[in-house]
């Protein structure tokens, strides 16, 4: 019987090829989309797994006040905590202390072989030798045991080694750091895999930290949160024990600052306690499931529609003594076989689409599905289950037909009032399609908003560079020379600029409770910072060269005014470092670091006119003159900083490389991907549905035609029942989509508009109407006699 059923299935498949094609495409596309999304989601949970000790690696972090406060976590802690407190704990096997070389937030450092060909390298770290015991490195040259033991040595990643030594070995060679220090290459390691949270470009021994930075007592410092610490716990050690012991380690130094361990498995998806990534991935999982459900509903509808063509077979078989159970098994078997075939084709399609998908999201997050047999088996299991579950309804409906009526091929008219399973399926189909489309639009618009929103400053036509120098001189003089060129509009210096996040301090403010302190970020800016970035002063005035006392005054942002509860901020004071600083103006809020995060209180101090030490320089040029501007900037800065390496970049490059922006871009692309496929699957589903209905209504159409009904009235008869269900689905899909908007992560959200909902609804409706029209025209054109003669 199984053999025969499969034979029949195959023959019918060949005979009704359009229907079979639609049915299989629906399943294949549905499964492929589901597989890719599942893989994408799974890949998000598989970061850092290349480390052999993955399960036992933890980063020591800390939070201020409350764990739930998402901006008040620090991934770096003090060196003293690492050197003194952690070493006492028996649970910890290894500790590595690390520090950025230069400021990785700003730009990195320049490395060269000959002081001429400078390479700006970001993400270099000082690190203890233990880094190789905790993390898994693959050495190409040298050995890890000796790599960081000698002072002034440097271990390079393959990429950096190839930049510096394009033709040959690097081991034992010397390089210059910032043209100031000489380092000896003690090893070269393979670049970290793409899915590694930590991508060190080079490593320098921690023991050289003092020599390079001049900071000698850092190991006794409990205040400077700029050191990263990772620990390797002993097997079976309980991280909760460690947490309990280090929780109050800083209480003598900073109240309400609590260190804790964060497992490596969490660092990518939930580094602190913020759920943004999890919410996004949860949403994606939900959408993946919805696409599968949508595809299954389509399948049910298509199978049930097709059952009508099989009345005779069912009637005959029943007459010949086939039991209900036998028929039921036959239809389930068919359903499972088709779904399984769809599953196999879906796997193949997913495999073929993997490279394109990776290109689309910009990282090789996905490997071919066939490299993971467990996942293949799971997916095939899912396809069989889908076939079984989707087969139940059609199989029951079909096997329950009365043989006499089935033989006469009379359609069993279901009751038209009341809620039938069919109506539920149709409404679900419409609702899911509409929901997917609206959510895609929301995610798309939110991402676009994040990438292009009014950031509170003008990010176009702006170059910046971070220069560290031992030299000195006046910045104003340099600025005068720059703006004497007509191509240059403005220039400024600052220690931090937007998208390079400054540190801060806890401060009291005038009118506030002396016991209450608020964390305020502090940056130092030149006179021309506000004008160069084209920010706005909402109240008071900017720093001015006409008021020498401004060096002791400050500006704040709007958020600070709001947090402090000031009605009239001008003349009020903020207390920091035991000094009261007077507020002279308020800068309109701008995006300090990331659209993703809420704006924090910010205080601005005036930078003295000097080009010494470590500064960021920003130059605004006239639109369309970038080439000339770059030339001018290079010449003028080389004159001012003859001994120092620097590189001017677009501020846009900072914004676009910002992690949150990258993540959102990825989400936008993936959401575009599933929007496209959900529209395809929806269209297939609608086609099937309408096929179902029109096969049902063939006779009615035949009779109406004989009686002389017009095309319009026939159309209305056919379409009206769909439109009613469509309206119901609007009431389901709209609130659900709005709910998604509300819970979408990101502190700065775009203003949602009714227009988006209406537009998506119209698109879905257009697809529906187009399919309905095709079927109706086909049905109406069929000769009435053809339809009626079966009766």
């Amino acid at each position: 019987m199984i053999r025969q059923s499969l034979y029949m299935l195959f023959r019918r498949f060949i005979n009704d090829s359009l229907f079979s094609f639609i049915n299989l495409t629906n399943l294949t596309v549905g499964f492929a989309t589901f597989i890719l999304l599942t893989q994408f989601i799974a890949s998000m949970f598989s970061w850092d797994k290349h480390n052999e000790n993955y399960e036992r690696i933890y980063r020591v972090q800390l939070f201020q006040d409350q764990p739930e406060n998402r901006v008040r976590h620090s991934s770096s802690i003090t060196a003293a905590l690492s050197r003194h407190e952690l070493t006492k704990l028996p649970e910890i096997e290894k500790i590595v202390l690390m520090h950025d070389v230069g400021d990785n937030n700003k730009s990195g450092v320049f490395l060269s072989v000959d002081k001429k060909d400078q390479f700006l390298i970001r993400y270099g770290y000082y690190a203890d030798q233990t880094v190789f015991d905790i993390f898994t490195f693959e050495f190409i040259e040298g050995v890890p045991q000796k790599a960081l033991t000698e002072p002034f040595s440097v271990v390079l990643s393959r990429t950096v080694a190839q930049k510096l030594f394009p033709s040959g070995k690097a081991l034992g060679k010397q390089i210059y750091g910032e043209n100031k220090v000489v380092l000896t290459v003690s090893g070269v390691y393979e670049d970290m895999p793409e899915k590694s949270n930590w991508q060190p470009a080079f490593l320098i021994p921690m023991q050289s930290f003092t020599a390079f930075t001049g900071w000698s007592d850092y190991t006794e410092n409990y205040w400077a949160y700029s050191f990263y610490t990772y620990v390797l716990l002993k097997p079976n050690a309980d991280p909760a024990n460690v947490d309990a012991q280090i929780h109050d380690a800083l209480k003598d130094y900073r109240k309400e600052h609590y260190p804790y361990l964060r497992p490596m498995s969490m660092l990518y998806i939930k580094a602190y306690y913020q759920n943004d990534m999890l919410i996004a991935l949860g949403l994606f999982s939900f959408i993946a499931l919805l696409i599968l459900v949508l595809s299954a509903i389509n399948y049910i509808n298509l199978q049930t529609a097709n059952a009508i063509t099989r009345f005779r077979e069912i009637g005959i078989k029943k007459t010949l003594g086939f039991t209900k159970k036998q028929l039921w098994s036959q239809f389930i078997l068919e359903s499972v076989t088709l779904a399984f075939t769809g599953g196999v084709l879906g796997l193949i399609l997913a495999h073929l689409m993997t490279p394109a998908f990776n290109r689309m999201i910009g990282i090789n997050a996905l490997t071919s599905i066939f490299s993971d047999w467990k996942l293949v088996l799971i997916m095939l299991g899912v396809s069989i289950l889908t076939g079984f579950l989707s087969g139940i309804h059609p199989a029951f409906a079909i096997s329950a037909f009365n043989p006499v009526t089935a033989l006469k091929q009379k359609f069993i008219q279901e009751e038209t009032n009341g809620i039938t399973l069919k109506k539920i399926l149709v409404t679900a189909q419409f609702s899911i399609s509409l929901f997917l489309l609206i959510v895609s639009a929301i995610i798309y618009k939110q991402t676009a908003y994040m990438l292009t929103c009014d950031m509170g400053f003008e990010s176009q036509n702006l170059l910046f560079a971070n220069i560290t120098t031992n030299g000195s001189g006046s910045f104003d003089a340099l600025r005068q020379r720059l703006i004497s060129h007509p191509e240059i509009a403005d220039a400024c210096q600052a220690d931090y600029i937007p998208y390079i996040l400054p540190g801060g301090n806890e401060m009291n403010w005038e009118g506030g409770d002396p016991e209450e302190k608020v964390f305020v970020r502090i940056s130092h800016i030149g006179y021309d910072f506000v004008s160069t970035f084209q920010m706005n002063i909402t109240t008071g005035r900017n720093f001015s060269r006409e008021y020498p006392a401004d060096l002791d005054k400050c500006l704040v942002n709007e958020t600070a005014v709001r947090v402090f509860g000031w009605k009239d901020p001008i003349g009020k004071h903020i207390r920091t470092n035991n000094k009261n600083v007077e507020v002279i103006g308020v800068i309109r809020d701008y995006i300090v670091f990331s659209v993703h995060n809420p704006t924090e209180p910010h205080m601005y101090r005036l930078l003295p006119d000097s080009i010494s030490t470590d500064k960021v320089y920003a130059v605004r040029y006239l639109p369309g003159h970038e080439k000339e501007a770059r030339e001018i900037v290079r010449n003028e800065f080389e004159r001012a900083f003859p001994l120092d390496a620097f590189e001017f970049r677009h501020i846009q490059s900072l914004i676009q490389n910002e992690n949150a922006a990258l993540a959102w871009q990825r989400l936008m692309k993936v959401s575009g991907f599933f929007a496209l496929f959900s529209v395809i699957i929806s269209s297939i589903g609608l086609f099937g549905l309408i096929l179902f209905f029109s096969r049902h209504k063939m006779k009615e159409i035949g009779i109406r035609k004989v009686l002389g009904f017009s095309f319009t009235s026939l159309y209305y008869t056919m379409a009206s029942s769909f439109i009613r269900l469509f309206i119901v689905s609007i009431f389901i899909a709209w609130p659900l989509s709005y709910f998604v908007y509300l819970y979408l992560p990101g502190a700065h959200k775009y203003g949602i508009q009714l227009g988006e909902f209406v537009l998506c609804t119209l698109i879905t409706l257009a697809v529906a109407v187009a399919t309905i029209s095709y079927q109706i025209i086909k049905a109406v054109r069929t000769k009435a006699v053809e339809v009626l003669k079966d009766e």
Binding site: I316, G321, F322
Partner: protein, 233 residues
Amino acid sequence: MIRTVNLSKIFRTELVETTALREINFEVRKGEFIAIMGPSGCGKSTLLNILGLLDHSNSGEYYFDGIEVSRFTEKQCTMLRKGTMGFVFQSFNLIDDLNVFENVELPLIALSIPRSDRRKKVDAILERMQIGHRRDHYPRQLSGGQQQRVAVARALITNPKLILADEPTGNLDSHNGEQVMQLLEQLNAEGTTIVMVTHSLNHADRAHRVVNLFDGQILAERTDRIFEPQQLS
């Protein structure tokens, strides 16, 4: 073999009640060949469906081989039907997606008979029906007469005691109709009980007995040939 007592069938919709059969008392003996005649809508097919356990009566009793079956469940009906009854329809009712061999094979599959036995039986019956050379053809490739021979072959494959034929010649020309009638007579002569619905007086004359139905009632019974149960032995 078959006895009905006051068998009635009423079709109900929300507004109308149609009485299809009104207190039918009717008997078919083993080995008999019965023709049922009557105008359209008189209840011929309904009666045949009830006799074939494809439909239930509303009231009255139906004894098949002495057992009251009118209240059988669907499952019981199916169990009784398969292997016991064969059906022949006016429109042949062959499955388009199956070839001749597979169509005839179907009832044996329903009986879960092993494949090798099925093959033997089907080949034998196809030879007997003189359509063995068509075994790999699909219904649409056959003439009406050939299709009906396949349908008869399918009805006979399980060696049923009873064949229920609903206008078996209705869709055939006279030549093919005659062939089918001869086939049925031959089967009857071999001992199979046959109940046939027909519009053709000529074909009805070939039966032992003709039952005339009108408005759901038996109007008259006419015996054309003397049926001798002994001749079976």
